[in-house]
Assembly symmetry: C2
Homo-oligomer: 351 residues x 2
DNA sequence: GTGAAAGCGCTAACAT
DNA sequence: ATGTTAGCGCTTTCAC
C-alpha cells in the first residue's frame, strides 16, 4: 500500500494497527505467557479467578491467535482446502461454494483450487496445501485419475475426503456421487414412451460417467446403441458452449434428424437443442424428448419444462462436511463411505 | 486419519512422509542454513558454483518452503483473500471463480469468504485474514456498506482492492463495476420501441444499483415512473427464486398485466416471466418486451432470444488481477481506479 | 497449580 | 563473499 497515505489514514481514524499477541495479554494481567496461552486453550488446571481475568483481558484487547504461529508448531490452522475441476462446464461449482459456505460457518477458512482434472496439478496443489498447514482437504476424483497421487499426501493432513463418481477401492473417506441410477431412470423413461433412437450429447471424457451407463441401459433394453448415438462436444470455454453445440447440430444433422430423444450434458445445452429443434418444426417431446443435466433452477420454467438430473448438491455438501469434521474430531474413526445417487427429475420434455 | 492405516499405506507405497526443510538441504550440501536460504531467495552475492549446487539439491530433495514459517516472520504467504457476497442471486460468483483462477495461475492460493453483505461479517473475515498473513484482499463493496470497516485493516495487507458499483471517494485501489450505462441503454431501447409502462423485477436492496437508474431514466423520458413500476422479490434461497417470482406475478397481476416491458434482475427470472406471459397468451416482445441480467450463456438460445446485461466478468477479473499484482509489486504506486461499465446486449426479446 | 524455556522453519540483520 | 544468530507468536514439555 501507499505507506504514507495509509499511515495518515490510520492516524485520522485513530486506529491501532498492531495485532494483539499473547504477550500483550500477559503484560496486561501480569502473568507469564504460557499461563495465558494455556488458559486461552481451555486448560482446566487454572483457577476461575485467573481464567476470568485472562479471558476478559483477551476480549478487551481483541486478541486473535496468529494462525501462522500456531500452525508452525504443528497446530491446527482452521483451514481446509478444496481441490476441484472448476473450469469446464461439467462441474458443479455450486457444490464447491456450498462446501466453502459450510466450512465458513464452522469458523474455518477454505482454499479453493482448480484441479484442471490433471494429476500433476493436483499433486502440486496438495504439496502447496501441505506447506500451508492446511488441516484437511476435499478432493474431487475424476474417473481415471490415479488416486495414489493423492494418497501420498495423506500424512500431511488431518483429514482427506474424496469425492469420486464411483467407489474407490482404497479405505479412505469418500462421498460417492453417482450418476448411474439417474441415467438408468431416464433411459427407462425414453423406452417407456416408445423412443427408438435416444442420443446423448456430452463431452467425450470421462466416458464412464455418462456415456457408458446411457448406452449400456439402451442395450439392456434391446437397442443396439453404439458411438453413433453419441454427439460429443469439446468445451474449453464455457461461454462458447452453446454456439459449439448449435454448430455441431447444424453440421451433423443438416439433412435429417435421426434421434427421437436427446440427453444433454447440461441444461444449457438442452436449451440450445430446444431452439434448434423448434427451428426445424419439431415438437418437444412429441418428436424428440429432451433431458438435461444439473436441474438448474430455470429448468422447470422452460417451455416445455425441462426434465433433468439433480446432482443433490446440498445433500452432498452436507455429507462431505459431516465426514470431514467427524474425522477431524475423531482421527481414529474407520474410513467412511457414503454414496449419494443423483436423481432423475421428470418434466414435460421427457415425454 | 486412521494412523495405523496411513502408516501401513505409506509404507507400502514407500513414501517418505516428512517435509523437506532448508536444514535438510544444508546438510546435503554441507553449508550453513542461511547460505542455503539466501541462495534460494535469489541472493546474488553467491558464486555460480554454490548457487547451482544448492538449487540442484533443493530440486533433488523436492524442497518447498514452509509458508507458515515464512509468513510468521512477516514474509509473503502467497495468499490472497476474496470477500464477496456469494449467497443470493444478485451476485456474480463466476467472477470470483475467475479471480481465484487468475490468482492460482500466478502461484498464489486464494481464500474465498462469503461477506453476507454484512459489515460485521466482513470485519471478522478481514481480521481472520490478517491473522493468517494473507498478502492481499479483494473486497466487494455493496452500496451502503461503510468502507471504514475495511479501511481499518488496510495496514495488515500489502494490497487491498475494492470492487464497488460506484466510485469510492477514498483514495484506494478500486475497480468500479457500474450498471448505470447499461440500464440507461435498455430503458432507451424500451422507449424507442414505444413502451409506455416498463416495469422492473428485482430485489429491493440495494435500490441504487438497479431500481434508481431505471426509474430515473424513465422519468427523464417523461414517464412518471414510481414504486408502482417495481416488482420487488426476496431471494433467500436461490433455488426458490423462480417459484417466488412466479407466485409474485400470479398474485399481483391476476386481473390484468399493466406493463408492456419488464426488466428482470437475473436471466433466470426472465425465463419465468417468459412462461408466465406466454401462458397468458402474450407475445414477447410484441406485447411485453423483456430484458434480463447477467447475459447467461443460454440467453441467446431462448425463444425469443433474451436481451440482457453483460457484467463483463472476464474483463473485471483481469483488471482486478492487474491492479492487485501491480500494487504487490510496487507498493508505492498511487491508488488506482478503473471503471468498467456493464453493457446492454440487445436481442429479440427487447423489441 | 504455576511458570520457564525450548523449539516449529524461515528470514534478515549483522558479524566476519 | 560467507556464516552466525536472534527472533516471528505460539505450543508444550517439564521443572518447580
Amino acid at each position: 500500500m501507499h505507506v504514507e497515505y495509509v499511515l495518515t489514514l490510520l492516524d485520522v481514524l485513530g486506529i491501532e494497527s498492531m495485532a494483539v499477541r499473547i504477550i500483550d495479554i500477559a503484560k496486561d494481567v501480569k502473568l507469564p505467557i504460557s499461563t495465558v496461552g494455556n488458559i486461552l486453550r481451555n486448560d482446566s488446571r487454572y483457577g476461575d479467578e485467573l481464567t476470568e481475568k485472562v479471558r476478559n483481558s483477551a476480549l478487551k484487547l481483541g486478541y486473535r491467535p496468529n494462525i501462522l504461529a500456531r500452525g508452525l508448531k504443528g497446530g491446527k490452522t482452521q483451514t481446509i482446502g478444496i481441490v476441484w475441476s472448476l473450469k469446464g462446464f461439467h462441474t458443479p461449482v455450486d457444490l464447491v461454494q456450498n462446501i466453502a459456505f459450510q466450512v465458513q460457518q464452522r469458523g474455518y477458512v477454505s482454499h479453493i483450487s482448480d484441479s484442471f482434472c490433471d494429476a500433476d496439478a493436483i499433486n502440486q496443489i496438495l504439496l502447496d496445501y501441505a506447506q500451508r498447514g492446511v488441516d484437511a482437504v476435499v478432493v474431487q476424483m475424476v474417473p481415471g485419475m490415479p488416486i495414489h497421487i493423492c494418497l501420498r499426501h495423506l500424512s500431511y493432513f488431518r483429514a482427506m475426503v474424496f469425492v469420486p463418481s464411483f467407489p474407490l477401492p482404497e479405505a479412505v473417506d469418500q462421498v460417492v456421487v453417482n450418476r448411474d441410477r439417474a441415467i438408468h431412470d431416464l433411459v427407462d423413461q425414453f423406452i417407456k414412451t416408445g423412443r427408438k433412437r435416444p442420443y446423448i450429447m456430452v463431452p467425450l471424457n470421462p466416458r464412464i460417467e455418462k456415456i457408458a451407463p446411457f448406452l449400456d441401459r439402451l442395450n439392456y433394453h434391446g437397442i443396439p446403441a453404439g458411438d453413433d448415438f453419441v454427439i460429443p462436444y469439446q468445451s474449453h470455454k464455457v461461454k462458447e458452449l452453446p454456439d459449439i453445440c448449435w454448430n455441431l447440430l447444424e453440421s451433423r444433422f443438416a439433412d435429417q434428424i435421426p434421434f427421437d430423444a436427446l440427453f444433454c450434458g447440461v441444461d444449457e445445452v438442452a436449451i440450445v437443442a430446444y431452439k434448434w429443434l423448434m427451428a426445424r418444426g419439431r415438437k418437444i417431446p412429441q418428436d424428440v424428448a429432451i433431458v438435461g443435466f444439473n436441474d438448474s433452477i430455470f429448468s422447470k420454467y422452460l417451455s416445455p419444462s425441462l426434465a433433468s438430473i439433480d446432482r443433490c448438491d446440498d445433500e452432498v455438501a452436507e455429507v462431505i462436511e459431516k465426514i470431514l469434521f467427524n474425522r477431524l474430531e475423531n482421527p481414529n474413526l474407520a474410513p467412511q463411505q457414503v454414496t449419494i445417487p443423483m436423481k432423475f427429475v421428470w418434466r414435460e420434455s421427457a415425454g
